[in-house]
Homo-oligomer: 232 residues x 2
């Protein structure tokens, strides 16, 4: 390996270490309370090192957001070849659940922490926001638009944003209560994966015009396996 | 007013002020990061004053929890005269939503903040935990037990804890995403009350054996008005 490649690799490793510390500290102490110096201290770097990577805390949180939301969007995008919008919604739900279980710190930072206004640049706005390939919310919402257009949902559910937010919230509620309250004894928590799948089943039954048309996730699983096979 | 009464009232006012500051600071900075001195500073009291009310941070958070969860349980208990368990579940949902809208700081502290293990004393455990009159989760769960026993839910939903957690999570997801992400522009949020009622409708349809038996909340509203009339 050349010295240029080694430097690049080391640079990415340092960046990931800063990200990991920042994610955890923002989620646990709140964005406002965390300083660049405190992040540096946590990973035993000098403040100079951290400023070498990020001009300020705002730049750090902006890149961290772009990175984490991109990982999630990529998980969703694996379902993009699934034609049936209901199966695609189901698959997005499975991908979201899996992301939360595998990356609880990322999840806390992304969905359970009040973040500052992120000043996205024009290129980011044009390429990412609203693009189903790079914006997980847009991915879910597009499936809702298609389900509504095909007449698959109850007629009173004609607002794709409302349906998308309802499906998102169903999983977020289960996941976030578990992250916050898992150790508390007064609620005998049920297995998260089983609970989340039953919740998706119930919510699909509740929004579908024909509740027996429940997406089973089988088409979704086949597509995920195919995607895994090509990327491995 | 006698001097004893005045002292008692002042004592309660100081306690409420400490509670308000602690709630906000625990929710925003995390329980671990907040010191008794910082709480005192925030409300411009001396640390001595705050220790006069609470022996330590653990005692403060324990009393704060008991206080806030008791307020929520009292909101639920107003529905206890409603005979139909589905109407009672619906009414508990409305009460929960109303509580979150009226007390967002309390909500954040209670359901969106990791709290330490609270060492409840034996009397509290015996009288409060699991008692539907003083434990909102127990209230909701009891309605789920009755709905299952009456055969109102789909037969595969036979675990009252799972059903209670599913209903709770549906509302918690909508409420907590709104609290955390309301200011972010990439999601066009829909009105919380409308979304929450549509979510409850969808979830009830999804769990009921007969989806047309949807609780309308009318019996619930009548009972709430009656309760208001007697307490006013």
């Amino acid at each position: 390996m050349g010295s240029r490649e080694r430097r690049d690799r080391e640079r990415m490793e340092t960046r990931d270490k800063i990200f990991a510390a920042a994610r955890e500290m923002f989620a646990q102490e709140g964005y406002e309370a965390v300083t660049m110096r405190a992040i540096a201290d946590k990973i035993e770097y000098t403040p100079t090192t951290i400023y070498h990577h990020f001009a300020n805390k705002q730049a750090l949180v902006t890149e961290l957001c772009h990175c984490d939301f991109d990982v999630l969007a990529k998980q969703f995008a694996r379902a993009s070849t699934v034609a049936d919008p209901l199966e695609r919604m189901r698959m997005a739900g499975e991908a979201y659940l899996q992301f939360a279980i595998e990356h609880p710190q990322d999840y806390r930072f992304m969905f359970m922490t009040t973040l500052p206004e992120i000043p996205h640049d024009a290129q980011f706005m044009a390429e990412v926001v609203g693009n189903p390939e790079s914006d997980a919310y847009a991915f879910l919402r597009l499936a809702c638009v298609e389900a509504i257009e095909k007449g698959l949902l109850r007629p009173e559910l004609s607002d794709s944003h409302e349906v998308a937010q309802l499906l998102w919230a169903t999983l977020h509620g289960l996941i976030s209560l578990r992250i916050i309250k898992n150790h508390e004894e007064w609620v005998p928590w049920r297995d998260l994966k089983t609970a989340a799948r039953n919740a998706m089943d119930a919510m699909f039954r509740g929004i579908l015009r024909d509740p027996t048309a429940l997406p089973k996730g089988q088409e979704a699983e086949a597509a995920l396996s195919a995607a895994d096979a090509t990327t491995k």
